[in-house]
């Protein structure tokens, strides 16, 4: 499968410390905007599909940090996923995919 950078939306369209869902090539990608205390803004992308519930919901979870990891909590059964790696903290056997994401000239891009 080839990977390509896709333009998704303007950074401002994602409210700070929330997620949105993008449809890219019929895949659902959860994209998160994290605004750190020092003013830096970072973008993360993982699958929107929650392997525990089978529902496409991860973009709607609450983001935050657990120790050094930046995570989202699934809104259905509350497992945490590492936004950088896609690892599931509670059940390592059920991770999700993570994708490269960046801000380029005020636009959010994801590599899928």
């Amino acid at each position: 499968m080839s990977t390509l950078w896709h333009d998704v939306c303007g950074v401002d369209e994602i409210w700070p410390n929330t997620g949105v869902c993008a449809r890219i090539d019929n895949r659902q990608i959860a994209i998160f905007r994290i605004d750190r205390a020092d003013g830096a803004t970072e973008i993360f992308a993982i699958d929107n599909h929650d392997p525990h519930s089978g529902a496409n919901v991860l973009s709607r979870g609450i983001v935050g940090n657990l120790g050094a990891r930046t995570v989202v909590a699934s809104p259905i059964y509350k497992q945490h996923f590492d936004l950088a790696t896609g690892d599931c903290l509670e059940e390592p056997s059920l991770p999700v995919r993570s994708y490269a994401a960046e801000i380029n000239d005020g636009r959010v891009r994801v590599c899928v």
């Binding site: 409210w15 993008a22 979870g61 935050g64 909590a73 809104p75 259905i76």
Partner: protein, 851 residues
């Protein structure tokens, strides 16, 4: 070894528990239980009137008898004992053999031989059946009289008062609780009892009860006076049930009671007597703690060989505390200063109605007794000082004098108590055991109670147990870690305080001032809830939206397949046909599954996020408001139709439920809140299973709080009775705000209540008597929330920026095609995993986009 236990009362049951816990007896136990149900908490019997059921009061852990193969014969009494054959004949006609026999038959209420005492409407106060009969009669009565002004009589009078009867207490002695307190205390107690609305008659000797002119009965007194009443409860003392023992020639005392030695053995080595039927050293103990001690001694004696190695019963302390809300009365040790050379210290405050007396040894070094009326805060500690012979400070009067402003009282630290000090006498728990349990990880009052059983019977030692918990935690150097999460080193209660006092309105401000990191799915919703309770701002602003749980984030309830359900507010369950039709039309148009909820509303399932604003703009146009079914917030106020339609209703419950629902709608709290209003005591709205339950009375409303359906059902308890509309709302304002202020994250009112140190009495003090002086503040805080209410959905559909957030995809229109429904019983439901996997399965199309 065959053991028969006669009586499955409090003490008899404790004996069985102690016996099966002994390692070295293989006993074959039969229990004869004359009552129709196994052991229950007689001490808490009066709670039956405030909503506790027989099940709530049960002392039997489920499966206990089966698990230990104890043969429990319910509804079967012992009729006779044959000591030579070593058999017991039952009322069912069976004859059973025994190796050891334990008599735990308790006592019966003494009814003085007054002509007319057997008239219909005359009761005693001892069993659940007695209370059921009283309840039935109370409903048909206006006036009630209790004969006897002792501990039990006063408890009973309060119960009659709570049944809305004009209540009288008739006492033969010159003062109430004559055994336990002195004249000075009696005076204060009398006015306290009268304040409850109970009329007190002392030095009245009832000579006859005849038919009344206006009421069912007329009581005639020796002094010629008369009193008319519909019901009479005798509470004139108890007599040991020693009839079986008498009949088989066991020794009994002159005034009754089965004579026992220090091992609770009767004159027959194979027969024991324990509890209120036993006479030890010429004394009967009418309290449960000495009975429990006897049960332990008897069980250990039967299990030990030689038996004289077993522990002995050496008498018991008879200090007591009246458990009446709003009336603190306690008596410790030698309350009447009967010991030779005893000296007293007395403090009276007639304005605040407080009376306190200390009785010390002649040289003032040891505490012998005390009387506390109007304020019994020091009960636990004074009792410990007396029991443990702790040397008194040089000025013992300071132990009972009110503390000068800001100063703490001298000499009453729990640190002074020895490890062997028995803190809970009901369940024989020492300070050492409590400290060990704390060390082993019991860091909350709830956990400590569960592990040690301390404070689980009469509850009198709860304040002391809490102090020991705190002191021990401090000593061990672990502060109670009730921090919300890794981002905030504060409890929810502390965060609430910081937010309110610091007027903090955003999560960023809270984090930068008091926290660290980014926050998480624990602290963010907590903060959002606190902001909403304090400032009631719109929850979906750019800075607040990110804090909300998915349900609050979309103002709808997420379901297992990621779709949402919608519950518009239907206040009080009242809805016009037109609005009902709108709900049907909307559901039909968007293809939603509809179901009636337990809270008298209609739930519409199966909407995708992007459809929510469309659906809601139609609902808002039709006059609907959000129902907050998605929030930890006030949900519903269930109601019956009340006096408007119902031939039994006594108040307009629907109007009241509308008032309440519109007043508190939108209020966010540590957990969801459910209310109900019933129009009469038939209680069709099931108010006693709610956080706030209101039940109509002839005179107003009874307010019940802290009930709970769900996983661990709990009956609500009566907070206050016969309230007018304004006072009802005032108390609910205070109650809710006090809960919001002090509860933990996701702690329901029932659990919160169980963890309140002073329990229901404390709650009543705070809410009804405003003991913390917080009333006005709590009401003002509530007023702010009430006044700033805005329907969140109305606000959302009017705000294009907010509506954008509901798009399923940021970069495309349309919905999630992973959402698949199938049809069942004429409606949609989510397809199962198996259905989705079948290759031929297509499912119904996702709900059609409306035009």
């Amino acid at each position: 070894m065959k053991i028969i236990v006669i009586g499955n009362g409090m003490v008899g049951h404790k004996f069985v528990e102690e016996l099966v816990a002994q390692q070295n007896v293989a006993a074959d136990v039969t229990v004869l239980c004359e009552e129709p149900r196994p052991a229950y908490d007689r001490v808490q019997l009066s709670a039956f009137f405030s909503g506790k059921t027989a099940d709530d009061l049960s002392l039997v852990t489920p499966g206990f008898f089966e698990q230990h193969s104890v043969d429990l014969k319910l509804g079967v009494g012992a009729k006779s004992i044959d000591r030579t054959l070593k058999t017991v004949t039952t009322t069912a006609g069976e004859t059973l053999g025994y190796d050891k026999l334990v008599i735990a038959t308790g006592s019966y209420p003494f009814v003085p031989p007054i002509p007319g005492k057997d008239r219909e409407g005359c009761f005693v106060y001892r069993t659940i059946e007695d209370l059921e009969a009283m309840t039935a009669c109370g409903a048909r009565s206006k006036v009630g009289v209790v004969i006897g002004g002792g501990l039990l009589g006063l408890e009973c009078a309060k119960a009659l008062r709570d049944m809305q009867l004009q209540t009288h207490v008739v006492e033969f002695a010159p003062r109430l609780m004559a055994v336990q307190i002195d004249d000075g205390g009696g005076r204060v107690l009398r006015s306290k009892i009268e304040q409850l609305g109970v009329t007190v008659h002392t030095q009245k000797n009832t000579v006859e009860i005849v038919a009344g002119d206006h009421c069912r009965h007329k009581m005639k007194f020796a002094d010629g006076a008369e009193l008319e009443t519909d019901m009479i409860v005798f509470s004139a003392g108890i007599r040991p049930r020693d009839e079986l023992a008498r009949a088989c020639g066991l020794g009994v005392g002159e005034r009754g009671g089965i004579i026992v030695d220090n091992h609770c053995r009767t004159l027959d080595d194979d027969i024991y007597a324990i509890g209120e039927c036993a006479l030890w050293s010429g004394r009967i103990f009418g309290l449960v703690a000495p009975g429990y001690e006897m049960a332990r001694v008897a069980a250990k004696t039967i299990a030990s060989s030689p038996s004289h190695d077993a522990p002995q019963f050496t008498g018991a302390d008879m200090s007591t505390k009246l458990k009446l809300m709003g009336v603190d009365v306690a008596s410790i040790g030698d309350a009447h200063a009967a010991t030779a050379g005893a000296r007293s210290y007395v403090f009276t405050d007639e304005r605040k109605q407080i009376y306190k007396k200390l009785v010390t040894s002649e040289d003032g070094s040891l505490l012998l007794g005390a009387v506390l009326v109007g304020d019994a805060t020091e009960y636990g500690q004074l009792l410990q000082m007396m029991l443990n012979h702790i040397a008194l400070p040089s000025s013992p009067e300071f132990l009972i004098l009110p503390a000068a402003d800001g100063q703490t009282r001298v000499g009453l630290g729990v640190d002074a108590l020895p490890g062997s000090a028995q803190i809970c006498s009901c369940n024989n728990v020492t300070k050492l055991q409590l400290c060990e349990a704390v060390g082993a990880g019991c860091t909350t009052l709830g956990a400590l109670k569960k592990t040690t059983q301390a404070a689980t019977s009469c509850g009198g030692c709860a304040p002391l147990v809490t102090q020991i918990l705190k002191a021990e935690m401090k000593r061990l150097g672990h502060s109670v870690n009730n921090h919300v999460c890794e981002h905030f080193a504060y409890s929810r209660q502390e965060l609430y305080h910081l937010v309110r006092v610091g007027r903090i309105e955003t999560f960023d401000a809270l984090l930068s001032k008091h926290g660290s990191g980014l926050g998480c799915d624990i602290c963010k919703p907590v903060a959002a809830s606190i902001f909403a309770s304090c400032w009631n701002d719109y929850v979906l602003t750019r800075d607040k939206a990110a804090l909300q749980d998915s349900n609050d984030y979309f103002l709808a309830n997420i379901q297992k397949n990621g779709t949402y359900s919608i519950v518009p507010r239907i206040a009080g369950g009242e809805i016009t046909p037109d609005k009902l039709i709108v709900l049907g039309q909307v559901a039909k148009k968007y293809g939603l599954y509809t179901k009636i909820t337990g809270g008298q509303r209609i739930d519409l399932f199966g909407a995708q996020a992007h459809q929510l604003p469309q659906i809601w703009s139609e609902l808002v146009d039709a006059g609907f408001e959000t129902g907050h079914a998605y929030g930890k917030a006030v949900r519903t106020v269930k109601s019956c139709v009340g006096s408007t339609w119902c031939r039994f209703g006594v108040q307009d419950s629907v109007s009241m439920s509308l008032t309440i629902e519109h007043r508190y709608k939108g209020l966010r709290a540590p957990h969801k809140l459910k209310f109900a209003v019933s129009g009469c005591t038939r209680e069709c709205a099931e108010a006693q299973s709610k956080d706030v339950g209101v039940i109509a009375t002839e005179k107003g409303w009874n307010l019940y709080v802290c009930g709970n359906g769900g996983m661990k059902p709990r009956h609500a308890e009566l907070l206050a009775g016969d309230l007018d509309d304004a006072t009802l709302l005032q108390y609910i304002d205070r109650f809710l705000m006090f809960y919001i202020r002090t509860a933990d994250r996701l702690q329901r009112t029932s659990v919160w209540r169980d963890n309140l140190e002073g329990g229901l009495d404390y709650l009543k003090d705070v809410i009804v008597h405003d003991s913390l002086g917080l009333g006005a503040e709590l009401e003002a805080e509530m007023a702010q929330v009430v006044d700033s209410y805005v329907c969140e959905w109305k606000r959302t559909v009017e705000d294009p920026e907010a509506v954008k957030r509901f798009r399923t995809f940021i970069n495309a229109d349309g919905g999630d095609d992973n959402v698949v429904f199938v049809e069942e019983r004429g409606q949609i439901r989510p397809a199962t995993a198996a259905e989705r996997e079948r290759p031929e399965f297509k499912g119904v199309a996702v709900v059609a986009e409306p035009a």
